[in-house]
Amino acid sequence: MNWLSDDAVARLRDIAEQPQLTGTRYELLRELGRGGMGVVYECHDRELERSVAMKVLDVAEARDEWRAEAKTLARLEHPGIVPIHDAGLLPDGRFYYTMKLVRGQRLDELRSLTRAETLRLFVRICEPVAFAHANGVVHRDLKPQNVMVGEFGAVLVMDWGVEHIAGTPGFMPPEKERSERSDVFALGATLKAMLHRDAIPRPLQAVLARAMHDEPSQRYASARELGEDVQRFLDGLPVTAYRENVFELAGRFLARNRALVAVIAAYLLMRVIVFFWMRL
């Protein structure tokens, strides 16, 4: 065997890349997706008779960094963070961890959401990110492709980062150092991508500008602050990122208090009618 055809080379590449699960409790079912660091497979857990998602890291990835990362992630127990079940080394020496298999749609695949639905979804994405930040964990690669919306409306943030993840162009902040504020930038970019078809009102534009400011110190200090500002917009309250003029203030007041304004207007109209009636 001296020469390998292109097809044979492709097959050998697959063989060399496929995780070796012999002797483990898992059986490989199918590939779910691949990223910069490894491949995610759907596997059957023979012990517990359930399907799980298994992330197998590329042979090139350092195990120790990932082992530490898996431990950190395992401590993050939040309904918006995909729980890790198990982690270890495969017989072929590669590091893996298994997670809950989330069935649903990726955020970037969701269509036909109203602006209010989009914003409500976004606020729910900020919650697990804020929780992770409070526990000292930075995601490093937030983007719509890393958010799953489950069949029953659960919102789950996936693919929590490791030390050497740089991020994804378009969602990556300009600074090299990664911190909570770099996640805030990526959240801003995610919101912008979610709203891309809508005309964005000025207060929301200001929220995006603040979240995605080039200077980290000028951004929201945390994912929680960003989520809260978006929630204020949803509730018809002023956002901290935008100073509104008197007309905008009046417009927002009218929009938020339509029933009250209608009652007062009706009352005043009635008083005017009564006033002129009495003078006849």
């Binding site: 050998l12 012999t22 042979v59 350092a62």
Partner: protein, 235 residues
């Protein structure tokens, strides 16, 4: 000097190029020639449309000169991968030769390379991308081919020829119609034994690929990057 297959060490032969031991330097050089001569020959021949005679002279002279002057030992793994370093050195060598306007004369001590086989392979390959992509593609083919060769040698030594023959029939042959059942009949084995042998051969193939990759890289970072280039990115 004839080109030997990869030695069975897991040590970096790139680092061994700078060894104080002349015999070790020679072994390291031969290993690198075994891995890289075909990709470089094809790179010159197809990527830059050199005539067969030119490409043969260029490849032969490049390695002969590199051995004499020990120029491969100047590699600095902090700057680039060995693969990129070698291609750049080859490009520079080819440009200088072109400027000089003279054909390189083959001297003594030249490496023995099977250009006939390389030409036959070129005739069977699919279309060419950019010269650099073509070089990378041929490097992948070369590493896999050498790993298959090493697997065959080891299974021959261990008298596990049937296991290798199953791997060859199922994973290497382009006639993909063969089933486990047919292989079981062909080798007079139970079907489960066929799948077990195949799994074992695949596992060993994978180990050998990584072992070979460790040898032709000089640092952990380079090994990781080259493993990604070899296995990570789907064509």
């Amino acid at each position: 000097m004839s080109v030997a297959p990869f030695p069975t060490t897991r040590r970096s032969v790139v680092l061994a190029l700078a060894s104080a031991d002349a015999a070790e330097r020679t072994r390291a050089f031969e290993t690198l020639v075994a891995c890289y001569w075909k990709p470089l020959y094809k790179y010159a021949r197809v990527g830059f449309r050199r005539t067969r005679e030119d490409a043969e002279d260029l490849t032969q002279s490049f390695f002969t000169r590199a051995f004499e002057k020990e120029s491969l030992a100047t590699y600095d793994h902090a700057k680039a991968s060995f693969r990129t370093f070698l291609r750049t050195l080859f490009d520079r060598f080819a440009a200088n030769e072109w400027k000089a306007g003279q054909r390189l004369k083959r001297g003594g001590g030249e490496v023995q390379l099977d250009f006939e086989a390389a030409e036959a392979e070129i005739g069977r390959e699919s279309s060419v991308e950019s010269p650099e992509e073509y070089f990378q593609r041929e490097w992948v083919r070369s590493v896999f081919a050498l790993a298959v060769q090493r697997l065959k040698e080891r299974t021959d030594r261990e008298e596990k020829r049937v296991q290798f023959a199953i791997f060859e029939a199922y994973d290497l042959d382009d006639d993909r119609g063969v089933s486990y059942r047919e292989l079981a009949t062909r080798f007079d084995l139970p079907e489960t034994q066929v799948t077990n042998h195949l799994a074992a051969m695949r596992r060993r193939f994978r180990e050998i690929v990584l072992e070979a990759l460790r040898e032709v890289t000089a640092s952990e970072a380079e090994f990781r990057a080259e493993a990604k280039a070899l296995l990570g990115a789907k064509p």
